[in-house]
């Protein structure tokens, strides 16, 4: 305890110490209760939500997610109610977010790469079957429409229909339509009630619409005459279906064409003997098919190589040119003899302030051969095909990218330059070094230590610079004689986009496989570069 200058008697000291201790305990106790209450309240909320989620998941029989939620909820309770284990208390929320928003997303993309997910295969087999059956139900051409009243008796629904000639019939799912004469009719002659049945109003129909929409009332004992169905609860039409599902054999039979389609687990669709496929199919795991497709299909493999080469060239050049220009300007504006440096600096940063894809669109307009600013004003009306000649288009892409990204490099290198101590330069000057030697041997290596990681990040960004390529040239110009939908300026990511998403047929599986390939490439380049950066750091 504290020791004061004047001596006191023991009792006084003890009393003071007691009261201080009591105060601390009371203080700690009151805060502790508050903390404890907050903790219980918040964990209560978490648990309540988890229990609700568990109920819902149990109802939908989604046992995998159920187990995951249960384990996470238990874990969270254990972590926060346990004494000690402070690091876990800090880390848990972050880890859960990491799992939900990062690891799951990456894992799911990886999973998709091994499926045939895409147009025609985006759901389950049950969905595919019901969708095929529904769309095969055709209204019999020129059949009359029947005015309809829906009746209910003991939980069974019946159709009370009035045909255009005014004849009234009743029937349900099992009993075909039969004529009745004792129906009650309204002013327009439509039968609206039948003794012994309850007529349903619209709200009752809406309340039971799933059952009513599924009703099909046979027109007669012969199934080939078709069945009455209602799309809206107020009128019925005659439908014939030509697809029948046989659950035991797992086949769909087309009764009008006499074709049997068998479920095929490897393609995820119903296929006839002659190879005709019914769409929609369903999603199945296809193993490495997407990867084999990417590397063996002629229309993809051929361009894949040239596109990969151009992607690397583009990424290196775009980082290299921007870094060179940014560094040059940074050195120039770092020189104290330069007047009005701040004004220039602000102007130089302007391109950085525009959204990249907008700039790309504006540049596409400016580079128009006939009407663009560049040719009209700068080249006196010469029709230079900036974006339609293969090499000029590549040049234009790098030029526009330079315009877009040099301010960033300028900012970064200015900062890094200013952090290099002036004494180094002075010492070198005293030793008789020329400015170029000072720059090459002293400043640049020191600069690279701090800038290299950013260059690697820029490289990874340039590697996937979709916006620029898509907005400026759309990957073009295309060589029409090549017959492949890949142009001279396409980089890997735009090629993936075209292969997977162009036109009506989407192939998410193939696209995911491609993104994994791109990820591997970028990761490999980054790892190698970071190793090199480590060597730089040893300079320090």
């Amino acid at each position: 305890m504290t020791r004061s200058g004047t001596p006191r008697n023991a009792a006084q000291v003890k009393k003071a110490a007691q009261s201080r201790r009591a105060g601390r305990i009371a203080d700690a106790a009151s805060v502790g209760v508050k903390v404890l209450l907050t903790k219980i309240l918040l964990l209560g909320i978490v648990d309540a939500i988890s229990v609700y989620a568990l109920f819902v998941l149990a109802l939908t029989q989604d046992w995998l997610v159920f187990t995951a939620v249960l384990l996470v909820a238990l874990l969270v309770n254990v972590i926060y109610f346990r004494r000690g284990g402070l690091p876990a208390k800090y880390l848990t929320p972050g880890l859960i977010f990491l799992a939900v928003f990062q690891i799951f997303v990456i894992g799911y993309t990886g999973y998709i790469a091994f499926t045939n997910y895409g147009t025609g295969h985006n759901s389950t087999k049950d969905d595919a079957i019901s969708s095929l059956i529904v769309s095969s139900q055709q209204r019999v051409p020129d059949s009359p429409s029947y005015a309809l009243t829906i009746l209910e008796r003991l939980g069974t629904y019946s159709f009370l229909v009035t045909d255009p000639a005014g004849r009234v019939s009743v029937g349900d799912e099992i009993t075909p339509l039969s004529r009745v004469t004792d129906a009650e009719t309204d002013a327009s002659g439509q039968a609206i009630a039948l003794p012994g049945f309850t007529s349903l109003g619209f709200s009752d129909i809406v309340a039971n619409q799933e059952r009513i929409a599924a009703l099909s009332v046979p027109l007669s004992n012969d199934p080939n005459d078709g069945t009455l169905r209602t799309p809206d609860g107020s009128s019925a039409y005659l439908y014939l279906s030509d697809l029948v599902y046989d659950e035991a054999a797992d086949t769909l039979s087309d009764t009008t064409q006499n074709v049997v389609y068998t479920a095929n687990g490897t393609t995820g669709s119903f296929v006839a003997d002659d190879g005709t496929e019914l769409l929609p199919g369903w999603k199945v795991e296809v193993g490495f098919d997407n990867f084999t497709k990417a590397f063996t299909t002629d229309s993809i493999r051929g361009p894949l190589i040239s596109v990969t080469v151009w992607t690397f060239v583009f990424a290196f050049l775009s980082v290299g040119t921007a870094f060179a220009l940014g560094l040059f300007l940074a050195i120039v504006f770092n020189d104290l003899r330069m007047r009005g440096r701040n004004v220039y600096r602000v102007i130089l940063i302007l391109p950085y302030a525009f959204p990249g894809f907008l700039s790309a669109l504006v540049w596409a307009g400016m580079l128009n051969p006939q009407f663009g600013f560049v040719n009209q004003v700068l080249f006196g009306g010469a029709e230079i095909p900036w974006l339609t000649n293969e090499w000029l288009a590549k040049f234009s892409i790098i030029l526009v990218n330079l315009w877009l990204t040099f301010p960033y490099m300028f900012l970064v290198t200015t900062g890094a330059l200013q952090s290099i101590p002036e004494e180094l330069q002075e010492a070198a000057t005293v030793d008789g070094a020329k400015p170029w030697a000072i720059f090459r041997l002293i400043k640049l290596p020191l600069l690279l230590v701090s800038v290299a990681p950013l260059l690697i990040a820029s490289f990874a960004f340039a590697f996937n610079n979709f916006n620029l390529v898509y907005m400026l040239t759309n990957g073009g110009p295309r060589d029409v004689t090549a017959g492949v939908n890949v142009g001279a300026t396409d980089i890997l990511i735009t090629m993936v986009y075209k292969v997977a998403f162009d036109g009506a047929n989407r192939d998410y599986g193939l696209a995911s496989a491609f993104s994994i390939v791109i990820f591997v490439l970028v990761a490999a380049v980054s790892i190698i570069s970071f190793r090199q950066t480590k060597a730089l750091e040893e300079l320090n």
């Binding site: 988890s50 529904v134 769309s135 929409a213 107020s234 006939q370 974006l387 036109g503 009506a504």
Partner: protein
């Protein structure tokens, strides 16, 4: 220290709560739609249409007791989101859609047929044909949209009868361009299509009921070759230029640089704002046969997984399909109504009547999924022919072969 710890604890617990709530929500929607949402119709609609549907929805709710929940979506993203969400059970009951998505939606199994019943005859024939796929009608149309010839009456006093007349009148007007149509570096087959049909070379042949037959690729017939030759000739003459993009075409026409402009109603308001006195004419024929542009039809479609099929049908057929709503939708979007009676009322406006007259002889844009494979070869080949990169017939036949391979 104590205070800090408490704050952090609270933050931690909230974070856990939210993340669990997120997992709970995503998994929970399946079950929810089956019980609590049975009397609520969820409708995806774009921002412009939402205001109009609000009234129709309120009326429907009054009469039927079914709530309508309008969800605003970006039109351009609806197709993809609908295909992604319906199979999970999280999609809407009804969505606004364009008819040319239909083949894709059907092959993904996400839409179900709509029975227009006897009201089918109340719509323009082209609209119902467009909304049909393999003999089934999948949507309730509300608007048709197509391109036509916009004429600056100050520069050209009469509608040209043929393409040559148009060039002659345009040259006589002494403007920078005899006529304008957007082409762009990868060409624009949609805007050039009326010229192509005037040579008798539609993309696909049609079945007896007016639907397209994917097995009959007629783009490569003799008419197609003639059209390719014509493209090369007009490209060399400078009448068609890949440098004329949509922005440039519009800007030049509004600046009075040409008496004629082939475009859609979407460019009319700006032209009128630029003070141009407009007349809408049929697109003149270049190859002798009628120049038929594509018609785009917008409408509403019903999800394959809806649990509200009857209410959805009732709402679409009897409310969205009513003259009142169709007229209101026309007034907000300026697209000609699909319902004949509403169209006739709207045709009091000469611009709408002009586009409508062109639509009467137009063809619906193919809604079969095979069409998706056509665009990527079609545009670049046209552009190559226009810029003279080879023999037109050879390029055209090569394109036909590639499309043939792609759609098999």
């Amino acid at each position: 220290m104590k205070v800090k710890k408490k704050g952090l604890l609270a933050f931690g617990a909230v974070a856990v709560a939210t993340s669990l709530a997120l997992t709970g929500c995503s998994a929970g929607d399946n079950a929810e739609t089956t019980d609590s949402a049975s009397s609520t119709l969820t409708v995806w609609v774009d921002a412009d249409r939402a205001a109009v549907l609000k009234d129709a929805a309120a009326e429907f709710t009054n009469e039927s007791g079914v709530k309508v929940n309008l969800v605003q979506k970006d039109f351009a993203k609806i197709q993809e989101q609908f295909i992604a969400q319906v199979p999970t059970g999280k999609g809407p009951d009804i969505t606004i859609a364009a008819h040319d998505w239909l083949g894709n939606l059907v092959s993904n199994g996400v839409v179900q047929p709509v029975e227009l019943g006897d009201t089918a005859a109340d719509y323009q024939q082209v609209a119902v044909t467009a909304m049909s796929y393999e003999g089934q009608t999948y949507g309730v149309p509300y608007a048709v949209e197509n391109i036509a010839l916009l004429r600056n009456t100050a520069l050209a006093s009469a509608a040209p009868a043929t393409y040559d007349d148009m060039i002659a009148a345009g040259t006589a007007a002494g403007t920078e361009f005899p006529f304008l149509v957007q082409v762009g570096p990868e060409s624009d087959p949609f805007h050039l299509y009326p010229f192509q049909t005037s040579f008798g070379a539609p993309v696909f042949g049609t079945n007896a009921d007016g639907s397209y037959n994917p097995d009959d690729l007629s783009i490569g017939n003799a008419g197609g070759d003639a059209y390719a030759a014509w493209l090369a000739q007009e490209g060399a003459a400078g009448h068609l230029s890949v440098n004329v993009t949509s922005d440039i075409a519009k800007e030049k026409f509004n600046a009075g640089a040409s008496p004629f402009f082939i475009t859609g109603p979407w460019n009319v308001p700006d032209a009128e704002a630029a003070g141009i006195d407009l007349a809408i004419d049929p697109i003149p024929s270049a190859g002798g046969e009628p120049a038929q542009p594509f018609v785009g039809v917008q409408g509403f479609m019903v999800s394959a997984k809806t649990t509200n099929a009857l209410a959805a049908n009732e709402f679409l057929v009897n409310y969205v399909g009513s003259g009142k709503v169709q007229t209101a939708l026309y007034e907000v979007g300026g697209r000609a109504p699909a319902l004949t009676s509403a169209f006739e009322a709207a045709a009091a406006d000469p611009i709408t009547a002009g586009f409508g007259a062109v639509a009467a002889s137009a063809v619906p844009m193919p809604n079969i999924p095979q069409m998706g494979k056509v665009w990527q070869y079609w545009g670049v080949t046209e552009a190559a022919i226009i810029t003279g990169q080879g023999d037109p017939t050879q390029l055209w036949q090569k394109m036909t072969g590639e499309i043939q391979t792609a759609i098999q």
